[in-house]
């Protein structure tokens, strides 16, 4: 391993991807973060960790998730489209790959209590689920505004035994829930592990979460080899908010230049309307939640509340890996509006019988913005299922008809 040249897309020893990343944390968090930095790789690479994590992914989460050839969709777009069915995971999205991994890590660090932030509630549910599984105390911070918008997930977390605490500061959404979780961690440094839900936050979180989500691309390679006789597709397409499912879907293709990586941001009402979550298109370099990355902000450096119809994509920053993939041109970034995503969700529902999460529908909507040859193979990460979005779908299509 030591003689291998380091990938230009891997995190460096200081936690940076190019000019992005790092750990800009108050001294109050230093011991917690340092403990993680020193131990995360060691723990994740241990045989007993890998064994336990993979057994749980198989028997509890339901992995490997299918790589499904979408025949009718393929005919429509004139390419070979495969869907990586993360929506079929237990709890309905890719989020649980990370929470299963992090709770095993927390146990090995001797932690007794778990905290998490959540926006739409998917990561909160995935965290509450693994805490119930392991019998650990769980506190989830959620913006007061989001708690109102995503009531069923609040009830789900409570039924799983978690305490859901409203974030009442600032704009009362995901970024404020993250602030509150970090403050909780400051106040409980010894016994608590903070499970961040995306590839954001101070080093080592972006790398740690990416490695736990990398199971997605690990499976894609194996499954595609069986179906197409080659491990590498021509394209991998995934939506990005913070960017954890994209990081997982891209991970094992980063150093395969023949694979085109396409990341799809939420344009909201449109990238020029001021109501958008397209950080790559609209962000400037800044620091939030311990991480230097592209950030939606005012000229004075105050963080701006992003907008998207999808509650899972409205984080004001983006994972530092993705900012770097954009800088280096390794990935192509597209932005998809609310309307385009909703249209794509309806299309998938009626051509393949799969109702996607609105987040995942952004990745599907990118197909219309791409051109490809007939025999090209593409994998779209279907990161979550649409059950949680039914009310939004009903409201949106009801208003339109």
């Amino acid at each position: 391993m030591t003689t291998q040249t380091k990938s230009p897309y891997a995190v460096d020893e200081r936690g940076f991807y190019g000019r992005f990343g790092g750990a800009y944390i108050p001294e109050l968090l230093y011991p917690n973060v340092e403990e993680l930095q020193k131990n995360y790789l060691k723990i994740i690479e241990q045989a007993d960790f890998q064994e336990e994590w993979r057994a749980l992914l198989r028997d509890y989460v339901g992995r490997p998730t299918p790589l499904y050839f979408a025949r009718r969709l393929s005919e429509r777009y004139g390419a070979k489209i495969y869907l990586k069915r993360e929506d079929l995971n237990h709890t309905g999205a890719h989020k649980i790959n990370n929470t299963v991994g992090q709770i095993l890590l927390a146990q090995r660090l001797g932690k007794k209590r778990i905290i998490a932030e959540t926006g739409a509630g998917q990561h909160g549910v995935a965290t509450a689920t693994v805490c119930a599984l392991m019998g650990m105390q769980c506190v989830v911070y959620m913006g007061a505004v989001d708690m109102e918008r995503q009531k069923p997930n609040v009830e789900r977390m409570r039924m799983l035994g978690a305490e859901v605490r409203p974030a009442l500061s600032g704009s009362r959404t995901l970024k404020d829930a993250t602030n509150e979780a970090i403050r909780d961690w400051i106040n409980n440094p010894a016994d608590t592990h903070y499970i961040i839900g995306s590839v954001v936050g101070p080093h080592p979180y972006p790398d740690m979460v990416a490695r736990l989500q990398a199971i997605i691309s690990e499976e894609i390679r194996k499954q595609l080899k069986e179906k197409e006789g080659r491990a590498c597709p021509d394209y991998v397409v995934a939506c990005v908010g913070g960017g954890s499912n994209a990081a997982g879907a891209f991970f094992h293709f980063l150093d395969e230049p023949q694979v085109q990586l396409v990341a799809v941001e939420a344009a909201g009402k449109g990238i020029d309307t001021g109501k958008t979550a397209a950080t790559i298109a609209r962000g400037r370099i800044g620091i939030l939640h311990g991480c230097k990355t592209l950030l939606m902000q005012t000229p004075d450096g105050q963080v701006v509340e992003p907008y998207s119809i999808s509650a899972g994509l409205d984080y004001p920053g983006i994972g530092p890996l993705h900012a770097h993939l954009h800088d280096t041109g390794r990935a192509r970034f597209l932005a998809v509006t609310d309307d385009e995503a909703m249209e794509a969700a309806l299309e998938l529902s009626q051509t393949e019988g799969i109702i996607p999460a609105i987040e995942s529908a952004h990745a599907l909507a990118a197909l219309k913005k791409m051109s490809f040859e007939n025999d090209e193979v593409m994998v779209v990460s279907l990161s979550g299922r649409g059950d949680k979005d039914l009310a939004t779908y009903i409201d949106y299509f009801g208003r339109r008809s």
Binding site: I25, E27, Y30, P31, N187, H289, Q297, D300
Partner: protein, 264 residues
């Protein structure tokens, strides 16, 4: 030697460092508050630069930041308000705030403007020790700005020694592992920690902050260090106050911690 280093050498007795958020309670409170705190006998002042996402702060300071931003506070405006303050303010003044607004303003321009208006030191909680050492130390020094670092009960001895070596004004001892404004610091765990740091015989003086609300907390801090920083309690006292209230309010606030010093 700047005013900040001077105050620890020249003044005997316990030092009271009062924090307020720029732009709170009203947009133009900054100068009147500086005057009132100086007249009331505060020894140092720390001015908070409001940020939308103040990670290390509890609800009281968060809310004051939110209000300050609503009032229209920006870094440019703060420097305008502070221009010429050295004609009337002799107290050491520090700026405290988070990296992102400073970064957008431009670190070099920020440090130059600090020097221009007469700022003595900076507390930037998310500027890590390593990053300071690697990138910004020469810049701070060029503009005569002291860097103040935090130490917590979890900070190990080697790191405290390193912080001591890099500090040139005072070390900010966080009383308990907590965000600002949490419960009173007068607890035995706190005392053991203060004792431990005091016994290290550091070259840099220390002050205690976070959770200092009253005279007993202040006096506990002063038993082991040169004084304390009071933030949330002062923001609480400022709530709803207007400019004409500041002199009396600051006087009675300072007297909550320190007995009036004779001026002869």
């Amino acid at each position: 030697m700047n005013r900040l280093q001077d105050v620890f050498l020249q003044k005997q007795g316990n030092l009271l460092n009062v924090y307020f958020t720029a732009g709170y309670p009203t947009l133009h409170s900054t100068r009147p508050l500086l005057r009132a705190l100086q007249a009331a006998g505060a020894d140092l002042v720390e001015i908070g630069m409001p940020f939308s996402d103040p990670l290390a702060d509890g609800p009281v300071i968060q809310d004051s930041s939110t209000q300050a931003l609503k009032n229209g506070m920006t870094l440019s405006l703060l420097f305008e308000q502070l221009a010429g303050m050295r004609d009337e303010i002799q107290l050491p003044v520090l700026l405290m705030g988070y990296l992102n607004p400073v970064m957008q303003y431009g670190m070099e321009r920020f440090c130059a403007d600090c020097e221009k208006v007469g700022i003595d030191g900076l507390i930037l909680p998310d500027l890590t020790l390593d990053e300071y050492e690697r990138e910004f130390k020469p810049l701070f020094e060029k503009h005569g700005l002291a860097a103040v670092f935090l130490v917590t009960p979890q900070t190990d001895e080697a790191r405290i020694r390193k912080i001591d070596a890099l500090s040139n004004a005072f070390i900010y001892l966080v009383s308990t592992a907590s965000t600002t404004g949490t419960k009173n610091a007068a607890q035995s765990a706190t005392e053991a920690y203060l004792q431990r740091v005091a016994s290290m015989q550091l070259q840099t003086p220390a002050m205690v902050g976070f959770g200092i609300k009253d005279r007993s907390g202040f006096e506990l801090a002063c038993r082991y260090t040169r004084g304390a920083i009071v933030g949330s309690a002062f923001i609480d006292a400022l709530q709803g106050a207007s400019e004409e209230d500041f002199p009396a309010l600051c006087k009675s606030f300072v007297e909550r911690f320190k007995s009036p010093v004779s001026t002869t």
